[in-house]
């Protein structure tokens, strides 16, 4: 499947936006937490898992989705939320723990919910799989052609929840796509020390569903595999498992001492940055001009900057508002 010029530009913008978001967040997060890292201090509360480097998984899949399709993401959700079209201002305010946040500051970075675009995420490994399967079941029962996408890390592929959901989705031929973002690590544990097979896409056979492996963090290959999977799901032909070999540039969380990974790993990865590669492809092969690409870049960066400004301007929630919204 070949992306159109519009699709290429859309993906480029989504990826550049996510990257700028993470880089901005990385700085914002450390404000007030240095020189000696103190997780309880600073402007942005809590833990912080950034996804810089993993943008192809987000953009290459979500380019095929509509607002009515469901996405469930992981503890590392920003790039996917951005590609799915989550309200960026309110998302950022949520991460800042502010009143105007998506949940008024109750959920935070690992709990971003935007029902307008059917986006949710969670801090529990593997927890995305069941709900996406259920959203797909709802679509079937409602007679719609909506699909659902569950994101999981490579580490999550060893959770029971993953296995159970794949079986259920295939058994019921549900319109769901499981996307594993294989960034080679689960915190400090390399994939080779957590997963008995080098490539999780082979596990698809155990559920009688197609399994696709995308190598080298290649946005176009993700586009292709996801396009096929989403189309198959929309046609009512059932689920697909896709594993994307991707990278994470930052530590597992901000403040991660990263004692476990080779010193030069990130530099090596950055030399093959997927956003640069996509830009090169657009300019060389798809008739996109430098000006068009730059325009996209400028636009999304401005959106991100505005979102951070929005968040900073938003007030703190009232303490006792903590008691609201336990029950619908």
């Amino acid at each position: 499947m070949e992306p159109s010029k519009d699709q290429l530009l859309w993906m480029y913008a989504a990826m550049a936006k996510a990257r700028h978001y993470e880089d901005t967040m990385a700085r914002a997060y450390m404000e007030g937490k240095t020189p000696k890292f103190d997780i309880g201090a600073g402007l942005v509360p809590g833990e912080m898992h950034l996804a810089a480097g993993q943008e192809p998984c987000a953009a290459g899949v979500c380019v095929h989705l509509r607002a009515g399709d469901t996405v469930t993401a992981t503890h590392r959700p920003h790039h996917v939320a951005i590609a799915k079209g989550v309200d960026l201002n309110r998302m950022t305010a949520e991460i800042y723990g502010r009143r105007d946040g998506l949940a008024g500051g109750r959920g935070g970075h690992m709990h971003l919910f935007d029902p307008a675009v059917n986006f949710a995420c969670s801090g529990i490994i593997g927890e995305s799989a069941g709900p996406a399967t259920g959203a797909a079941l709802a679509a079937r029962l409602q007679g719609s052609d909506a699909v659902a996408v569950a994101y999981l890390g490579d580490g999550a592929a060893n959770q029971g929840a993953f296995h159970e959901a794949l079986n259920l989705a295939s058994l019921w031929r549900l319109p769901v796509v499981f996307v594993i973002e294989d960034n080679a690590w689960g915190i400090s544990v390399p994939k080779s020390r957590s997963t008995a097979v080098p490539d999780n896409s082979v596990r698809a056979r155990g559920y009688d569903m197609p399994g696709v492996h995308v190598a080298d963090n290649d946005t176009l290959a993700v586009f292709d595999a996801a396009g096929e999977a989403v189309a198959r799901a929309r046609r009512g032909e059932g689920p697909t498992l896709i594993e994307v070999q991707t990278y994470r540039y930052y530590g597992h969380f901000q403040g991660d001492p990263e004692v476990y990974r080779p010193k030069d790993e990130v530099a090596r990865l950055k030399a093959r940055d997927p956003i640069d590669r996509l830009r090169g492809h657009m300019l060389d092969n798809a008739g996109v001009t430098e000006a068009e690409a730059d325009e996209a870049l400028t636009r999304v960066r401005a959106e991100v900057d505005a979102a951070f400004e929005f968040a900073r301007q938003s007030g703190e929630p009232a303490p006792e508002d903590a008691l609201e919204h336990v029950f619908a």
Partner: protein, 340 residues
């Protein structure tokens, strides 16, 4: 048809489900053996025939997946009724219950809702041993974000199920196997009751005074309501007039009803089939004491399963589980021992 039909607990809950399914196409049922089998404890008998396979779905033995899927479906506009066959199995799927179903509404600041009913069988008394006989009321009631109900009779079984299905919050519906009125398991006499045919909803958080009395308050729920009533009958013969309160739900918990009764009687026994420590019995006693320990004319008593796995053999299981005689003895203790 007669308005005085007597139904079993199981027929009452099935009727509530069927009535809601007829009027609300978003309601559907899934779980293990809920289809042709009709639920191991007859919680879905006949539903497959009326509503078909799409809306009454047998699942693989994959509780994490299908409860998680229930949450996803609920957030996407459906009203799933999901069965966890025995509450004892919560251990394989608690994340989907307490971290997902129960918290997503809060995490979304009220913008997403999870209108899911999780129905599950509780209780012992037929020697099903330590992994199939638990009640676990407090295990769920302790954790925020889900409502928890436990009917003691068919009338409540229907009304609470109707409310559960219509509620926008996740509701854990705990039905005691011994109250289902199954052909193959003994049930106390009062478990089957008259049940109106028309749909009706019983609000959560409203305890019911099932027997009025002035001498002592017995707080009970689910199966222990029947033990409490039997104890009250026996006590009446001794000249003791016991008030029996059926809590009906654990979350929300009708503390006011308990307090009103204890204000009258000054004496309190709490009976619960769940484990003794860190459970309902402590919560009720603490709720009274923190209001005013002076309300209690004598030391309150708990009747509950001791802190041991539920034993298999009959003499040991009988030793462990609450019954009328244990409640009666506890009441006698509250009467004999005045506060120093």
């Amino acid at each position: 048809m007669s308005r005085n039909r007597v139904l079993t607990g199981s027929r009452a809950m099935v009727e509530a489900i069927a009535q809601e399914m007829r009027v609300d196409p978003t309601v559907f049922v899934m779980g293990e053996d809920v289809g042709p089998y009709g639920g191991i404890f007859s919680s879905t008998t006949g539903l497959l025939d009326e509503f078909g396979e799409e809306r009454v779905r047998d699942t693989p033995i994959s509780e994490t997946a299908f409860i998680g899927a229930g949450v996803g479906a609920a957030m996407a506009g459906m009203r799933p009724i999901v069965e966890l066959m025995f509450v004892d199995f919560f251990g394989v799927c608690m994340d989907a219950i307490y971290n997902l179903a129960a918290k997503n509404t809060y995490f979304s600041g009220g913008n997403s809702k999870v209108p899911m009913v999780l129905m599950t069988a509780t209780g012992g008394g037929y020697s099903d041993a330590g992994q199939h006989s638990q009640t676990l009321h407090a295990t769920f009631a302790h954790l925020p974000g889900m409502k928890v109900v436990a009917p003691s009779n068919a009338y409540d079984a229907k009304g609470l199920m109707t409310s559960a299905i219509r509620d926008d919050a996740p509701v854990l519906y705990m039905f005691h196997k011994g109250l289902q009125g199954l052909a193959w398991m003994a049930a106390p006499e009062g478990a089957s009751t008259e049940v109106p045919e028309d749909p009706y909803a019983i609000p959560f958080g409203e305890a019911r005074v099932v027997r009025e009395g002035g001498d002592v308050t017995i707080v009970a729920i689910s199966m222990t309501v029947h033990h409490a009533l039997a104890a009250a009958e026996a006590l009446a013969k001794d000249g003791v007039d016991a008030e029996v309160i059926d809590l009906r739900s654990l979350v929300p918990l009708d503390r006011e009803a308990v307090l009103a009764s204890v204000r009258k009687t000054g004496r309190l026994v709490v009976a619960d089939e769940d484990y003794r420590s860190f459970g309902l019995t402590a919560e009720i006693i603490a709720s009274v004491a923190e209001t005013d320990p002076g309300l209690l004319k004598s030391a309150p008593r708990r009747v509950a399963c001791p802190d041991i796995p539920i034993p298999y053999s009959r003499p040991m299981e009988r030793f462990a589980l609450p019954d009328a005689e244990k409640i009666r003895a506890a009441v006698q203790q509250t009467l004999n021992r005045a506060v120093a």
